[in-house]
């Protein structure tokens, strides 16, 4: 009986742990569009709304800058406090790289629209974490999706499909 109870308890704990993991939220996203010419303004608004509906916060340029600034400032301060030489940038950058927390996702999104308003059917994206880790930074791999009549009937449906594909591609980092 005692063993059964223990077994049941551990099952509950595992279940609870898994639920907690699933409930982890995505870090806020700064959307960086590679080409804003010919871009209809409602597209960005829709993108933000769809991210919002999935409980993913989108950041403005200023908000992302503030988050980055505060994080790097804090890490650099820890470095100075622990006796690190601020004048030695090589050591500072490695310290920052090893100790900074991810505060956001920088989503680079490429949606090409020609001057007549036709949207190229290939949408691509990649994402890296903020603050950017200059020590480990390398060329990112594009992820693709194709827009067609089933997933892009309207602007809203198109943005929903794009956001869904981005999330499914697992490029966004969670808290």
């Amino acid at each position: 009986m005692k063993y059964f109870f223990l077994f049941f308890l551990s099952l509950c704990l595992i279940g609870f742990k898994q639920t907690a993991t699933n409930q982890q939220r995505y870090l806020p996203v700064f959307i960086s569009l590679t080409d804003t010419s010919n871009l209809p303004p409602e597209l960005l608004v829709n993108l933000k709304a769809v991210f919002g509906s999935k409980k993913i916060k989108t950041l403005t340029k200023k908000e992302s800058a503030d988050l980055i600034y505060n994080e790097i400032y804090k890490v650099s301060e820890d470095y100075a406090r622990s006796g690190g030489n601020m004048a030695d940038y090589d050591k500072l950058k490695y310290y920052q790289s090893a100790n900074m927390r991810n505060v956001g996702n920088n989503l680079v999104l490429s949606i090409k629209i020609d001057s007549d308003g036709f949207i190229n059917d290939t949408v691509k994206w990649y994402s890296y974490t903020l603050p950017m880790d200059v020590v480990k930074f390398s060329r990112q791999k594009w992820r693709h999706m194709l827009l067609d009549s089933t997933n892009a009937k309207t602007m809203l449906q198109m943005t929903q499909s794009i956001v869904d594909s981005i999330i499914t591609s697992n490029v966004l980092v969670k808290e």
């Binding site: 980055i68 100075a80 680079v108 200059v134």
Partner: protein, 211 residues
């Protein structure tokens, strides 16, 4: 290409300048901002005391360390009512600590001052003894044994504005290199986010320069 580099340079200088200007000691060491329960009422009753104010202004770096400690929130509120932000910045830049001994001596004096502070304000005495201790004496005591602070500020004295500038330049150079991996349309955003991190390093470095 040259235009792009020039533009990025100007942009980053602006960001750095803006960010660096907005830094004050209380931003550097994030204070405990939430002041809970009875402390808030007590603080509003406290009057600014000149002796204590003078003591604080002579040891402002050290006092900032108290603020960092959770138990120092009451103290922080009091200081905020007593000393202006401009005065804090001015005093911080003048503050010098030459040795660990000197630093520890400040700690001992500050501890005595904490006891005096408690005695001066009957409102504080109304708090349970344990809370009093946690709020002030323990905060002072813990800090006076924190030897790492002395080392930090002695080191900080050897940093110059010029060295900070070169850190900032090196950082931006690395950003420029990293951002070449980005598609052309994203180069500006990449430099902006990366450059903000450089501005943060530069901002702190600039702040640590002791004249």
């Amino acid at each position: 290409m040259f235009k792009k580099i020039m533009f990025t340079g100007v942009l980053l200088i602006s960001i750095s300048a803006l960010k660096a200007k907005s830094i004050a000691p209380f931003n550097t060491i994030a204070p405990v901002t939430v002041l809970k329960n009875t402390n808030e009422d007590i603080v509003s009753k406290l009057v600014a005391d000149d002796n204590f104010r003078n003591y604080y202004t002579n040891n402002v770096v050290f006092a900032n360390k108290i603020i960092e400690n959770k138990a120092g929130s009451l103290f922080y509120k009091y200081i905020q009512n007593t000393i202006s932000a401009e005065e804090q910045v001015d005093l911080f830049t003048k503050m010098k600590v030459n040795s660990k001994e000197e630093f520890n001596a400040i700690g001992v004096n500050l501890k005595k001052e904490a006891v005096a502070f408690l005695n001066k304000f009957p409102e504080l005495k109304q708090m349970p003894e344990k809370t009093q201790k946690e709020t002030l004496i323990n905060a002072f005591g813990k800090i006076s044994t924190d030897k790492s602070i002395a080392v930090e500020f002695v080191k900080a004295k050897y940093i110059t504005y010029e060295q900070c500038f070169w850190i900032w330049m090196a950082c931006n150079g690395l950003c420029a290199l990293s951002c070449t991996y980005e598609p052309p349309g994203n180069y500006g955003d990449c430099m902006f986010t990366c450059g903000t991190a450089c501005a943060a390093s530069y901002g702190l470095c600039w702040f640590l320069v002791a004249e």
